[in-house]
Symmetry: D2
Subunit: 354 residues, 4 copies
């Protein structure tokens, strides 16, 4: 297998750590740099103790020079930072895998509305060339991409569970309700006081219940599939997990599909998907998706139920927010771009019970 | 204060244990019996180790004779069992506080549909006399009640958060979506394999997502308030908590109310409620309800948010399923019936962080 | 009941919050001030959301003037801060309940060794007058105390479990091993990065395994009981709890006592103790102490086992670190000082399962 | 790579599930049967939902015939069951990897004392041929072994952390104290009432504090290393984890070694060990072992600290009880026996934060 040199810009956070873990297990990749302003000079295993014994890499100061030694750069930077790095990297011929939101939205004006930017996106041409890195929906475009906008974690779960309904015309006038539950690692490795263990344990509480930023990309992708503007009623909740996102979609439909049809819709999209399992089983320990059974992996579990009483299709998705919702999906998309097997570096079976 | 003698029928489960805890701290109550078929003869503190040092009571075999020594009986029995005990207790002049579902539904036929009974409820007259023990909605009826049907835990949270909307005409044609999250204690002290710690930790998973039994009482109560038949789209999820229910209501409205109006509606119902806090705060550590801040108490936190993008009112409720969702609410209702101060035995401030 | 006015200096942390909770439920206390430099002017319920609805108190700037309006001051300040406040408060005739370590150690030089002070304790006379506020050991002295040094959380558990052995001569030449397990709330409400939920969940790890500061007070108290210098081999561990301390004492003895003797020793010290339960039961769900059954309360559970193979007495203690290990024990000692019933404000039965 | 056919006898429990997970990722193994009396005929993914999509294997009735189709059998059976299967399998030329205790103890009489067998072990010759499957201590013997007795989970952690001290003569007259902390998965997939999530969450409690069965194998192995009879003072505790064991060793020594010497002792045993990390770092997020950083893997983290005050060496070990403490270590030993690379199937980097 050929070897692609990669640099991880912003490697000290949770997503950076997971990129390191995945890429260190990737037989076609050499990690040539991992940057951190705060920890430069430090061994990466001191910040990511799980990596002790698996790498002697040290953090380096983030710099274009460092990145230019690589064939591909993974940007695990805060929103608004990636956009400063990407144009130069892209122009230098480097493949850019951006894990921020800076290239996810196709509409340059959307950044004003959803991310509070002072004006429209400054690189509309790059926006156009960027591919939204959800492989199950954009595989063909990824093959020739050089700029990948890795989807947001809650968007990944939401879009995966609702895509079959959007594509097959089930989403009607009532906006789908997406009720999401997410672990603490979504808040990142720096955290604020409400992310302290004592405050964050034993909670269920909503946050940004009416205007979470991932709404923009969810609506973009579902609208694309539906062929018309789709709005979603999205409300996330903090629950007592470190990892994991569970999304529940409540979709009121004009006419309830049959169970057979529902299987058909999900299989049409995911029948050949390496990393999507449609979970719906009347027997056994697990009848629907459950975050427990995807932790630490790139697997996305989706499923559905029918509610004739309210003419509602209920959909479910469970993913690991740091893997399928970030580092893993980034590598999956990168593999497609680079011509690697899609699952390279990502083939671990979920561990259970965990 | 006068002393009321009470018997707890079915005292070895979680609800029974919580009834014991609350009633042992009630200055107007003497617990004269606590029954358990399985543990008869055993000290109650051996089954409820938290009670060690607080009572020397022993379980006795459940029997009508035992119960008849009391002025009031709390029935913490499985659904379908209470209905066997209640008529005789009631006829004997004993006040019955039933924590099962057996007297919650006013429509005798609903038991066929929702609880799989072979025929309509055998005691329609008692059904009529039973008062649904949600004090904030049925206080006046409780004053003269002798048979209290304590609401289900998820129904309590759902109805409390949606009652203002139902009463003030905000619920329209689209069924409110109620997305619930619940801890493991809801499954009871006997549990099945999926309730084992290893299987039940680190989960988010739906269960009975389209047809949970509490739908029946939620719709009954909301319809009563709205003055017309209301349907709800209810889906509960197991999350990694021992205690606690969090419900999120997504209500599509024809015309979005103002925030001021919303406060008005909630205050109209709960302005004088001892055990309901309307939580909505732009400052501080907690902006919306959170199960963390009601644990171990009878307090119900409710709140709301407005989503103009989808013309949606979002409502929230957080309760402790074993206290406000069972034993605590039972005692609150009992206090009203008996003329005790409503908070007697229930006045503990929530402990935090827990 | 008379009413004592109290001021809580340092009321925004976890211990401050618990002092507020307990004292708001105390029928002989009026909380006249709660100070916080950071949150002055803010409602206390915004920092302690559990208190919402139970008090309209606001934080005030810490000042001697504020404190002087009270009859008693509870100091929930960092180590090294209390010593600046105490002399003036004490001289003003105010009863001081200090929850820091600043007056726990009788030897003025110990502060150099254990707390890194530049010289011996500056107020040796106050040290002498201070009473170590462990009521089960120092009740008589507390009656006339005006300066209470509330024990450290891990010291409370360690001393309570080992006191009977120290007093009855069982501690020999080998230092007792004390292996402690503690929840995250011990680190306080400000926390560092390792206290973030993502880092602090799913851990067992030692910290300060050879030189934790509580060793000094544990050895002081056990030496006092034993009548000779006792050393302990103390190692604490962070475990995945918010609250709770569990200590295990491994004591090698020259001659193994009988079980009957062991009961005698524990009963001699705790037979009449309102807040100590000796837990040792061959039947039921709980054979030894367990943090689960003391949470949120001032109850300390202690117990023991005998290991003839290694001539070892194993001792156990379980407490809530913020209640029995801080705010609750402070109020228990305060009650003795003030002549209130020892359990006033502290009488809640533990809630379970939690 | 050659392909070894393996059969897993007792594949429906937690250890069986982990054997399946590891062996399905092993490039030199074909799993030809997985037995379960209770679930025969059922897809294994219905009992182990994490395996959904990774295997279409079904459970079969346990039988000698089934096992005889394999080259090697992994026995994940209750203690006392393996001994019924092993002789026949062994005689048939099959390599037996036994995860029970039935062949761990070299002294046939020890089974009477520790496992309550009615008489000495019935197959003393097989006991002699069995190799205690702790690769870091018995690698040479494993090369030619055909019967592997996989160590107990708590024994693995205890022996790994204390082996350097035993080997280099540091263990003196005072029995090392081993204070262990373990997650709920150690109790297995069937569990009793105290293993229910509601009862098992938020606990720290000892169990079998003076006479846990793993003492026998710990003493056997340490005595072997020390060249004389070593006794240990072992006390395990249930803590609120699903997976993970943390052991703390408190060893009183005649003369405290230097830190340099300690490193020498640990490096002597583990310098080349693929799966042991010596964790002792003054910098970074993790100074000592922590269960958090080994979860889901075969990695064992060990470490130490020195306490001159009590002339004590403190040792630590953190492992995943189901991987390094069972299925993973079994496969590691099996790899040595079969001539596979030691890490085959076991090379995943730990995932963090989890």
């Amino acid at each position: 297998m050929k070897v692609v040199k990669v640099c991880i810009i912003g490697a000290s956070g949770f997503v950076g750590g997971e990129l390191l873990r995945v890429l260190l297990q990737h037989s076609g990749v050499e990690v040539v740099c991992a940057t951190s302003r705060r920890f430069k000079g430090e061994y990466v295993y001191r910040v990511h103790p799980n990596l002790r014994g698996f790498t002697q890499l040290r953090f380096v100061e983030p710099s274009l020079d460092a990145a230019l030694k690589a064939d591909a750069a993974f940007l695990a930077l805060p929103h608004g930072e990636s956009v400063k790095w990407t144009p130069k990297l892209y122009e230098s011929g480097i493949t850019v895998v951006d894990l921020s939101a800076d290239f996810r939205l196709k509409d340059p004006n959307a950044y004003v509305e959803w991310y509070g930017w002072p004006g429209p996106h400054p690189y509309p041409d790059l926006l156009e060339r960027a591919v939204y890195g959800l492989p199950e929906l954009h595989r063909d475009e990824l093959v020739n991409a050089r700029l990948i906008a890795v989807p947001g974690c809650m968007a990944t779960a939401s879009v995966l569970m609702l895509a079959p309904l959007a594509k097959f015309g089930l989403i009607g006038a009532v906006p789908p309700v997406i009720d999401a539950k997410i672990g603490s690692s979504g808040a990142g490795a720096e955290g604020s006081v409400v992310d302290l263990h004592s405050y964050r344990t034993y909670v269920v509480r909503p946050y940004e219940p009416a205007r979470h930023r991932h709404i923009a990309e969810i609506e973009q992708e579902l609208s694309l599939l539906a062929g018309r503007k789709v709005r979603v009623a999205f409300t996330p909740h903090a629950v007592d997990l470190v990892r994991g996102i569970f999304t529940t979609g409540h979709v009121f439909v004009d006419k309830l599909p049959s169970e057979v049809d529902m299987w058909k819709y999900y299989r049409a999209l995911y029948g050949n998907a390496k990393f999507v399992r449609v979970v719906r089983d009347r027997l056994g320990l697990s009848h629907y998706p459950n975050v427990k059974y995807v932790l630490g992996t790139n697997v996305a579990d989706v499923g559905f139920e029918l509610d004739p009483r309210t003419s509602r299709v209920i959909t479910f998705a469970a993913i690991d927010n740091l893997v399928r919702g970030a580092a893993g999906q980034a590598v999956q998309a990168f593999n497609i771009v680079m011509g690697f097997p899609e699952g390279e570096g990502l083939s671990q079976i979920p561990v259970a019970p965990l």
